[in-house]
């Protein structure tokens, strides 16, 4: 019967459409590729030795760190807050880069044409120009031998962790080795392991996963969700500020000097580290005023932006012979901020931090 045929064909259409929709919800099931075996040293060395290829890709950062929203951290704070973020990156394989992040209200694009870095914020229509970054970066860069450096790095890591190449994986459709760092049993850390996927062909890291104890899902996963190697349109790495945008030029030297002095005035001594390997604890100082009560905030800032208000909301008050403070626990680490402006933090349980405070 003709009508029956129509109904059958139409049912097949429904099934095909439903299948198409299901294919969107199913994760792309890629098999772990077969790659020649390699050693951790060889892998690290090849990464250090690799030249950055020209590529375009999308990096997805999936953050489950459980950090409270910190005041005054700006754009970086947005990345630290929980959730998924994605950014597009381009590189010409030599010295030019481009990156763009989508925000709720527009986009931030950073273009590094090799000499000047431009930062464009579409929601505020502002351009910040950083000239001469190259000179500084080159001055800071060191030309160590990659093989020597990798032996050094892996050797250092082996003191506190077992470093292994845990088979292969597939990231954004590319074959990759997986380098795994696991803390040795004696390490007092909240982390279970750190996994780094390295592209088998180009030897660049494609994905980093930080896994914490007591959680099956990674606390932090940052990696390419799409990547294409190959030469890129040079126009991508040029930037001309739009006509009506506000352009601010950042003077790197003056700014660094000013910043440095302000830092010395406010923070006193440089941050110190205690402990080794995974239970390294960083001790720093912040201006004690920042931790004072909201009503004493002389600048009249909003109380939500006040660090103390944040601490009182999301931290636990702790007391001891070392003083009084607040402890903030996240899935990957903890921090204790004392009322006199000492900050200790690390990828460790709270007790380790308090021991460090007692010793200090």
């Amino acid at each position: 019967m003709r009508r029956k045929n129509i109904a059958l064909t139409a049912s097949a259409g429904i099934a095909a459409g439903a299948l198409g929709l299901t294919s969107l919800a199913l994760p792309a099931g890629a098999q772990d590729p077969n790659l020649p075996r390699t050693t951790p040293e060889g892998l690290v060395s090849s990464v250090l030795d690799a030249e950055a290829p020209a590529m375009a890709g999308t990096v997805t950062v999936d953050n489950d760190l459980g950090l409270p929203a910190l005041p005054g951290t700006g754009d970086s704070g947005e990345f630290l807050s929980a959730g998924e973020q994605s950014l597009r990156v381009w590189s010409d394989g030599q010295r030019a880069h481009r990156m763009s992040v989508q925000k709720d209200n527009g986009e931030i694009t950073v273009v590094d044409d090799g000499d000047t870095v431009w930062k464009w914020d579409s929601s505020e229509r502002t351009v910040v120009e950083h000239p001469d970054v190259r000179q500084r970066a080159e001055a800071e860069g060191s030309g160590a031998d990659p093989a020597e450096l990798s032996r050094h790095i892996v050797g250092k890591l082996r003191d506190s962790s077992s470093v292994t190449v845990d088979g292969t994986t597939s990231v954004a459709g590319r074959d990759a080795y997986e380098l795994v760092l696991t803390p040795k049993p004696g390490e007092r850390t909240k982390l279970r392991e750190v996994r780094i996927a390295v592209d088998a062909e180009h030897r660049i890291p494609l994905r980093v996963e930080v896994e914490a104890n007591g959680s099956a899902e990674p606390a932090l996963r940052a990696g390419f969700s799409r990547i294409d190697f190959g030469s890129q349109d040079p126009g991508l790495f040029r930037f001309t500020p739009p006509d009506d945008a506000r352009v601010r030029t950042e003077d790197p030297h003056g700014d660094a000097e000013r910043h440095g002095r302000a830092q010395q005035d406010a923070e006193g001594p440089e941050p110190r580290t205690t402990g080794e390997g995974w239970d390294t604890v960083v001790t720093a100082r912040i201006p004690a005023e920042a931790v004072r009560g909201a009503q004493e905030d002389s600048r009249g800032g909003k109380s939500e932006r006040n660090l103390r208000a944040v601490l009182e909301r999301s931290g636990d008050p702790v007391n001891g012979s070392w003083g009084h403070g607040w402890a903030v626990d996240t899935s990957v680490g903890s921090a204790v901020i004392t009322s006199d402006g000492r900050v200790v933090t690390g990828a460790v349980p709270r007790q380790v931090l308090i021991e460090a405070l007692k010793e200090a």
Partner: protein, 288 residues
Amino acid sequence: MNGMTSRVELPSGTRRRESAPLGRVIRAELGWVLRRPRNLLALLGLTALPVLIGTVIALTGTPAAGSGPRLLSAMAGNGLVLPVFSLMMTQNLLLPLVTAMVAADALAGESASGTLRGLLLAPVGRVRLVAVKAVGVLTVVVLAVGLIALSGALTGLVVVGGDGFVTLSGTTLSLGPALGRVALAAGWCAVQMAAVGAVALAVSAMTDHPLVVMAVAVGGLIVFGVLEALPALEWLKPVFLTADWYSIGDVLSDPIRSEDLLTGLWRAGCYVLVGMSAATALMATKDT
């Protein structure tokens, strides 16, 4: 060409006509759809909306950065954001509502007024009947989306001004490519609305009550919105038609952020396939 006409007694000597010419049927349907006052009023209202938004923005200025809905703050001094913004605002509820209204009239409305029986007996195949009705719905969708884009672009150019169109990535486009971006957004939006229309047409074939069609279409979109907000259903999100609707603003990035847009097209295509197949199956098996 079909089973149902065989039951009609034909006077002897008359050459049996297989089916009415498609062009004439479509013309008749379009005339019917485009002469309905409520459809015309809906189109008029949708055309007026970008003018309204543009005027308000010209009078009051854009909100400060960081507040207001997506894209709104990018509109300052940038006329060609207005049509994309208008499409983004209307595609959440207004456009689906108008689409569902036309789809409701197409089959359920005929059924309610008792005229569907005549259509089923007329010398037009049932697949062809669904196709003709779908063309009617699609025409209104394309007209509605086109009118919003057109009136938005014109308002934007007149009220906000648009010499040199700045993309969200900070590059400057000339008028031609900028209008191309608006056309791209309009085309993408039309495909999404076609998906709504196809599903609404399937519901329309199922029921005799036009109101049910509108309730299901609009209610379905609201349910998608609610479910999207539940973190436990994150894995199901790619199936929701509305999942990537905000990504229409991605045409304003440079280069165009195409991933979500393409996923959205694929998804809408699947919905069109499901909706049209279901509508055809329901009509083919419907008793006269």
